[in-house]
Assembly symmetry: C2
Homo-oligomer: 342 residues x 2
């Protein structure tokens, strides 16, 4: 049913080789011949078989991404926006995106091998790093170009191309903001410890406290069981019970912060005036929360675009100007901060 070079060859009387060259725009084809071939191909509705072309050329013009097992959950917003950014730039370079899904987390390395070994992609985008990420170790060995959203282990130098929001700085900015607003007892509810950015945000918390001469109390810090509102709600309940003296609580993500707000509401504590709340990410919901949520904005869509640009350059041996980028996030103050105290 689909038209091949052979079909055009038969119809025009030329060899497959000549058809290929005419369509490929090579100079060593008679102009008349080319016109005839182009015209015939057009009217026959020819479209190259990209599978065959990829097999031969070893170029797929495709970027691979593994969708996280959590993709069905609330957190998936981050991934969706990143993907959109990658897709935006990919389309403009005529690259496609191959999404390979995992059934569960244990499945993840299998999917990476599937993607790398399958030869259908020229490069891979890795998202949501964990400390000492095995995917990165594997990709380094594989030789396939890849870029990473996030870092994996600063101690080991992170010697691979990445773009990361400066999570440490972001959380430090938020803590500094609350200190500036007169808070001395600031709680923190972190996402699960497995994620790399969790540690970076925690570090920012400690750094900012130290910098302002405040005491760092480990018991002010808790991990939510999951990176969603329910996790934040639960952890906030525990934290509030243990430390009624807290005047501000930071959620390690906006969803966690929404859970914190929920817990406060339930206890009749006014968000802002009673206990100030801050989040991280600036998801769309943040500005619609009641009160609107103070948070740290990171440009996820932009990061996706930059990742794709970087990866495509690497694929084409163009060596991008920067291969390790730390993006400065932005403090967005809203009413969940309450009034400045003094």
């Amino acid at each position: 049913m689909p038209i091949t070079l052979k079909d055009i060859a038969q119809k025009t009387g030329y060899s497959v080789t000549t058809i290929s060259r005419a369509l490929g725009g090579y100079s060593d084809v008679n102009e008349q011949t080319r016109q005839h071939i182009l015209h015939t191909a057009e009217q026959m509705g020819y479209h190259p078989n990209l599978v065959a072309r990829t097999l031969k050329s070893q170029r797929a013009h495709t970027i691979g991404i593994v969708t996280p097992a959590t993709a069905a959950s609330a957190d998936s917003d981050f991934f969706s926006v990143l993907l959109r950014g990658v897709g935006y730039v990919a389309a403009r370079h005529h690259y496609d995106i191959l999404l390979s899904g995992q059934m569960d987390e244990a499945d993840e390395m299998r999917v990476y091998r599937h993607l790398v070994g399958g030869k259908r992609v020229d490069g891979i985008v890795v998202a949501r790093t964990i400390p000492d990420d095995p995917r990165i170790a594997y990709l380094k060995k594989s030789g396939l170009p890849f870029v990473v959203s996030g870092r994996s282990d600063a101690a080991q130098g992170d010697d691979f191309p990445y773009i990361d929001a400066d999570n440490r700085l972001g959380l430090a900015m938020l803590v500094t903001h609350f200190i500036d607003y007169g808070h001395q007892h600031i709680g923190l509810i972190l996402p699960p410890a497995k994620y790399m950015f969790t540690h970076q945000r925690e570090e920012g918390y400690r750094d900012a406290l130290r910098e302002h001469g405040l005491n760092y109390s480990p018991s002010y810090v808790r991990h939510a069981s999951a990176m969603d509102q329910a996790g934040g709600y639960e952890a906030a309940g525990e934290l509030l019970a243990a430390h009624p003296n807290l005047t501000a609580i930071i959620g390690g993500t906006d969803l966690i912060a929404l859970g914190v707000m929920q817990a406060l509401n339930e206890r009749g504590i006014a968000v802002g005036a009673g206990v100030a709340v801050g989040g991280f990410d600036d998801i769309p919901v943040a500005q619609y929360a009641t009160p609107p949520l103070t948070t740290i904005r990171q440009p996820v869509f932009e990061i996706g675009k930059m990742l794709a640009g970087m990866l495509i350059k690497i694929i084409n041996d163009e060596s991008p100007a920067e291969t390790q980028l730390l993006i400065q996030p932005e403090l967005v103050v809203r009413n969940s901060s309450g009034e400045k105290r003094k």
Copy 2:
């Protein structure tokens, strides 16, 4: 660098054919031989080249989706969630997803030809239909399996596999709810007319009014210039200026409804008590709006899952039980409805 069947053949002394059969689990291979080959393949780190396999077998185990040009905009939530649903089921059937992006809307048919002609996908999911959708006409001709989120033209029978939320019913439910709450003058701000679901929702509006013996006034209906908050805001301004007697306004999507709320706030009209507002879609933001937004919930993630299941069945000639599904949406009453009037 990557290991091929040939490499294993050389190492073991068997022919490529035997290697292929041993790995493929065929019965006509000596058990000892198979063990030896399996073991060697394993320790050499063999992974099949899926490009070659696809070229030979004409099966890509991949589902194609074209990302809309609007994917960078606020509306893209719908697409992201649908994609997640498709991906969820695809992964469980060991199918991958090939995303092909368009640069702009004019580019769209080119991308579909690219996807169909390229032979890298076994089927395609189409989203966000328009009346008389040319993509559907093209896919029908192409012979490639496809499923559609949405219908295209009821008059022509929509003779293709689809799953659609019952938009007509959904909006009728919403109108009926407002009528039940005592409203007689209900405005409607629709998304752009190019989308199929816009017309279905408008139909639901008219049907419900008629059913309850209320007059349908075309001037109560406006189209937003875009399917986002700004579009809703602008159109609401015009509508309110022209018809100060309206006591309820429905946004054709939640984002439009948020724009309506913004316009009301600006005029000092209380959402709910002053003018009731309703939306459609139940995006996450809806429940966080102030006041929370009454809306119609459609199970987009579920629809994505069902679409993938249906498509994979069609690909495998399993003829799914249902190929044309209308999903009943759900009315979610929140405070933007205000109190029941009498």
